[in-house]
């Protein structure tokens, strides 16, 4: 049974009221959604809130999923919309402003990410925190729209057509936005001597 078939089987069972099937479906994708939310919000509390909103939205709209696209595409369309909603409610911009400012040191970013990785091995923890803090510093340099495009393309492997549909823009605009964002990241990397 392929991954898509397994997804569809779990969705069918969940629609019939199987809590176990739903939980298996959630466990299959919660890692991707949570890390997506963490990169978009920058802190654990809001990431957890966003993830819960995403899966609640998935549950409420599960009957509308017809299998025309992959479940992951449908899932991240909802995730994208929920992230945008959260951003509009001003819950997202505040931590981004504090994280994205030039005033924020790498130690502050590390401290902010510490809660998410505190149960890991200390050496792994340090490595993870440093790597993730570096990524977060780069992402914080991007605008909200650029950040979404980069997230959906680099981490979620969405096509530009899918990104364009989610953001209600043309595919060419999505491609240009992506290129601009990546060029900006490269510039930021050179400034911070990452590369």
């Amino acid at each position: 049974m392929s991954l898509t078939d397994q997804d569809e089987a779990l969705i069918s069972a969940a629609l019939e009221g199987s809590a176990r099937a739903w939980e298996r479906l959630v466990r299959r994708y919660e890692g991707r959604v949570y890390n997506f939310a963490l990169r978009m919000t920058g802190n654990e509390t809001e990431a957890l809130d966003l993830m819960q909103e995403v899966f609640l939205g998935v549950y409420r709209n599960l009957q509308r999923f017809r299998g025309d696209s992959q479940f992951t595409t449908w899932l991240f369309r909802i995730a994208h919309n929920k992230a945008v909603d959260m951003n509009r409610r001003k819950y997202l911009l505040t931590p981004l402003a504090s994280l994205g400012g030039a005033e924020q040191t790498e130690d502050e970013v590390l401290e902010q990410l510490h809660d998410e990785t505190q149960e890991q091995n200390p050496l792994t923890l340090l490595d993870t925190e440093q790597r993730n803090a570096g990524v977060m510093k780069l992402l914080n340099r991007l605008s909200w729209d650029q950040r979404l495009v980069v997230e959906l393309k680099v981490f979620q492997s969405c096509t530009f057509e899918e990104i364009a549909e989610m953001q209600d823009i043309s595919a060419n605009t999505a491609k240009t936005r992506f290129y601009t964002a990546m060029k900006l990241l490269k510039t930021q990397m050179e400034q911070t001597h990452v590369v």
Binding site: A19, R27, N35, R39, Q52, L138, V154
Partner: protein, 228 residues
């Protein structure tokens, strides 16, 4: 010289759905365009840096929404409904069976169910009455036989007892009878003697009476003669 295709070239490089022909054209353009080549190098470096992200484990959270949990709980009463109402339904059925006098019989013909007083019950009652009557008659006959046997045994026993008594007391009875006869004889002799003496006294008394009468007659004759 600025290339207008750079954004598309970079985007195309990140697109996995290119056909072989499209990929060949892309490679040809990148080989010929320094700007696109540099842009591709930069974006790939940026992407590599972003992919340094380490997956953060998901903290514990409530995965099953409340709506689904309620749905799950709502689906459970199917089982608990039966466990709740089955004993009551069984009790009602049994009570109804008692009230309607339902009789279930399992035999060679399968399961037979009858409601109310069935003919079978009547048959059983008649058979019981007949059996009771037969038992009563048999008991009476047995009692009569026992009484006869007992009477015979008692008669025999009485005879044996009488014989034994006669044997045991025969001699003493004979002796007693002789003594009684002797006693009677003595009494008779004594009575005869008493009777003789009584006769004698009576005779003496009669003689005196006659003499008195003769004196009275004499006196009467004397008195009569004087009157004349």
């Amino acid at each position: 010289m600025s290339c207008n295709e750079t954004a598309h070239i970079v985007a195309a490089r990140f697109d996995d759905s290119l056909s072989p022909r499209q990929r060949r054209l892309l490679d040809e353009h990148v080989a010929a365009c320094a700007e696109c080549r540099d842009a591709l190098a930069d974006t790939q470096a940026s992407a590599a840096q972003l992919r340094q992200w380490q997956e953060v484990p998901v903290p514990q959270w409530q995965r099953v929404p409340e709506g689904l949990r309620e749905k799950q709980r709502a689906s459970r009463p199917r089982f608990s409904f039966w466990t709740q109402w089955l004993p009551l339904a069984t009790a009602c059925m049994l009570a109804l069976a008692v009230v309607l006098n339902v009789q279930v019989q399992i035999g060679g013909n399968g399961v037979q169910m009858a409601f109310g007083g069935s003919t079978q019950a009547q048959d059983i009652s008649a058979q019981l009455a007949q059996f009771e009557q037969e038992q009563r008659t048999a008991q009476q006959q047995a009692m009569q036989q026992l009484a006869v046997q007992l009477e015979e045994r008692q008669t025999t026993a009485n005879l044996r007892l009488m014989e034994t008594m006669v044997e045991q007391f025969g001699e003493s009875t004979t002796r007693s009878m002789e003594q009684v006869l002797a006693y009677f004889e003595a009494q008779r002799q004594e009575d005869l003697q008493l009777l003789e003496s009584s006769y004698q006294r009576l005779a003496d008394s009669d003689f005196q009476t006659i003499r008195s009468v003769q004196q009275l007659a004499n006196y009467v004759q004397y008195q009569g003669g004087q009157l004349q």
